[in-house]
């Protein structure tokens, strides 16, 4: 019998009892939906890490001060992570190519009678490259297809140089709005402002910036702020030694763990962190890589995924047994039909093909409904996993394949049984 005719015959078989067919596929629907949801969780975790840590390159290790709550204030646990600590890293950890560092805090700015209380950033000369890498802000009206350069972020003057950072020069770059507020339209370049009572020369003003994401444009103020050389900031703007954030660039991405170990042993030595009795270190810093964040996110998705995978397996087995059951009933109900088909010339393989195809169509139908159900379940899974669930496009062919395989496996026995019927007995069957 031709494939088309076999298909039509199988479709007719299924459609003869729609309610029974629908109930049979319920297990497969749930199983397939679980497969879709499970994969969406893993995919969502990955996507959320991509979105939230895109500034952290895969070759980068972020080193932060370990903080503790003390009388309502965040305090460094142990010794603060200092600028000098950071400077020594490339030498102490051979796998580290270079480091970037920054500090941040609040400062009072004054020029003439105008004052501003705002957040400052003490950075390296390459800070604008980091701003570009973070990808959160851009000059107003920047075309999406045009690559950003550090120069594009400067409206007037220039950014400070490495020499100025190393020298701790008192220079600064103002945000677009901050410059307007302090200078009321006068040219700020070359003027001196007071930052926490320290004089500081304005050498540049940032271009007018906006958030890259349209929905982020309300509530963020990218044009208020001041950039200072990190050395100047540390010396003049803190009452006690501040902690810095260090980004270490590793030469070889495949050796991130070794690089972390080198950095850790260097910092432990400098901070006098010793091994506890149980072999662990009470580090006063912590290191983060993209892989760590991803690992943690996947870990949280994994707990949920294990449950869903178990549900998927159980449902598919139950669904498969359902298919087998309904096919056995169908074979038994249609014994006479099978006898007639054999009498007019159906071979065993024709009968196998007919019933196997019926089982596969049944489970594929369940699979398609399951995919729809799974896609609809994703928002729910997202709510249970801190918003991290995103449809993985590969999961659709996978789920369809799983349901087809279920139909094939569980439809085989009933189909073989049908094909082994004795036509004489089958024709006599009442």
């Amino acid at each position: 019998m031709s494939l088309l005719n076999t298909l039509l015959t199988a479709l007719r078989g299924i459609s003869s009892n729609l309610l029974r067919t629908a109930l049979t596929t319920l297990g497969i629907i749930i199983g397939v939906a679980s497969v879709i949801a499970t994969l969406a969780l893993g995919n969502g975790a990955r996507a959320s890490v991509e979105a939230n840590f895109r500034f952290l390159g895969s070759d980068q290790i972020q080193i932060d001060q370990d903080l503790q709550m003390d009388k309502g204030q965040m305090k460094a646990s142990g010794k603060p992570l200092t600028y000098e600590d950071g400077v020594g890293i490339p030498e102490a950890a051979p796998l580290v190519d270079r480091v970037e560092m920054k500090v941040s805090g609040q400062a009072k700015l004054r020029h003439g009678r105008e004052t501003e209380d705002l957040g400052f950033q003490g950075t390296d000369a390459g800070a604008l490259l980091s701003v570009i890498a973070e990808g959160q802000v851009q000059p107003v009206g920047w075309p999406t297809d045009k690559a950003l350069t550090p120069e594009a972020f400067i409206g007037q003057g220039r950014f400070f140089s490495t020499a100025e950072v190393l020298g701790g020069d008192s220079v600064c770059v103002l945000g677009y709005q901050t410059a307007l507020d302090l200078f009321q339209g006068d040219d700020p370049i070359g003027q001196t402002i007071w930052v926490n009572r320290k004089p500081c020369e304005v050498i540049g003003v940032a271009a007018e910036l906006e958030a890259v994401n349209v929905q982020d444009r309300i509530g963020t103020r990218p044009n208020e702020g001041i950039f200072l050389p990190i050395s100047f900031a540390i010396q003049n703007l803190f009452s006690e030694e501040p902690w810095v954030t260090v980004i270490a660039h590793v030469k070889d991405e495949s050796k991130m763990e070794e690089a972390k170990a080198q950095i850790a042993s260097y910092l432990r030595e400098r901070h006098g962190v010793t091994q506890d009795a149980d072999g662990t270190y009470a580090d006063d810093f912590h290191m983060t890589t993209k892989q760590d964040v991803l690992g943690a996110q996947l870990q949280s998705a994994a707990t949920f995924s294990v449950l869903l995978t178990a549900l998927a397996v159980v449902s598919l087995v139950v669904g498969g047994i359902g298919v087998m059951n309904v096919m056995l009933v169908s074979v038994s109900e249609r014994t006479r039909e099978i006898g007639v088909r054999m009498a007019v010339g159906a071979r065993s393989r024709d009968v196998v093909a007919q019933f196997l195809l019926e089982a596969i169509l049944l489970s594929a139908g369940g699979g398609i409904l399951g995919i729809a159900a799974g896609v609809l379940t994703i928002p729910l899974a997202a709510a249970l996993n801190q918003g991290a669930a995103l449809l993985d496009p590969r999961s659709i062919p996978l789920a369809l394949g799983v349901s087809l395989a279920t139909g094939l496996v569980f439809g085989l026995y009933p189909a073989l049984r049908a094909s082994q019927l004795d036509p004489i007995e089958a024709l006599r069957y009442e």
Binding site: M342, A343, V344, R349, P423
Partner: protein
């Protein structure tokens, strides 16, 4: 030419630890265009004979030649092939598929083998031949008993088989309808079809050109029997 030639056909069944002999060496010849009735009481072996002749069963011993080809040793799939191509069945209970309409029921054998021409056109011609041209789209439960048997006869005819096997074709019909069906079978025989009919009703058997009587697994009327020792 002999359409059917059997030589000393034997069929025994093992029931528990005893052996039941349903056929005890049956040898018959049927010529092309003959209408032969096979008569006998229940248990005489006529159904077993019919199943073997219809390639639904194989003999325990002896030979069965259909169109001079030995088919007693064919495999299961080869027998399916012969049933599809060379044999048409007519059953007492019609055995139409309830979900298919008349035309689709008639097409069924054409779908299971290689046959010339357009299947639905051939089915439609067969349906016209049995006088039901206008009932093509009706399902079996929308047809009378006589109409159902006509559809079944059309299904048996559609592949243009060498042999039509009819098993009590009028058994489920009233006498008037039964007579119509017999008239149709006689007509088909006159057109050159070879028909072998199993019945226990002498009046029905009277329509056939020749009657073979069976009893206890043997042919009991001696004429035209070739006994091969």
């Amino acid at each position: 030419m002999n359409i059917i030639r059997t030589e000393n056909l034997t069929r025994s069944y093992v029931v528990g630890n005893s052996t039941v002999k349903a056929l005890r060496g049956v040898s018959i010849d049927v010529d092309t265009g003959e209408f032969v009735a096979l008569m006998g009481p229940s248990g005489s072996g006529k159904s077993t004979m019919m199943h073997i002749l219809g390639c639904l069963d194989t003999p325990t011993a002896g030979r069965y030649l259909l169109e001079e080809r030995d088919i007693s040793t064919l495999s299961k799939d080869e027998r399916a092939r012969v049933r599809n191509d060379r044999i048409g069945f007519i059953f007492q209970t019609f055995n139409l598929l309830p979900r298919l309409n008349a035309l689709e029921n008639i097409e069924l054998p054409l779908l299971y083998g290689k046959h010339d021409g357009n299947a639905s056109q051939r089915a439609s011609e067969a349906l016209k031949r049995v006088g039901l041209g206008e009932r093509a789209q009706h399902r079996p439960n929308e047809l009378s008993g006589g109409e159902r048997q006509r559809v079944a006869i059309a299904r048996a005819l559609v592949t243009n088989p060498a042999l039509i096997l009819a098993d009590e074709p009028t058994g489920n019909l009233d006498s008037k309808t039964g007579a119509d069906i017999m008239a149709l079978l006689v007509e088909l025989c006159a057109e050159g079809h070879t028909i072998l009919m199993v019945t226990h009703d002498a009046k029905v058997a009277a329509h056939a050109g020749r009657t073979l009587h069976m009893q206890d697994g043997e042919i009991v009327n001696g004429e035209q029997i070739h006994v091969v020792a």
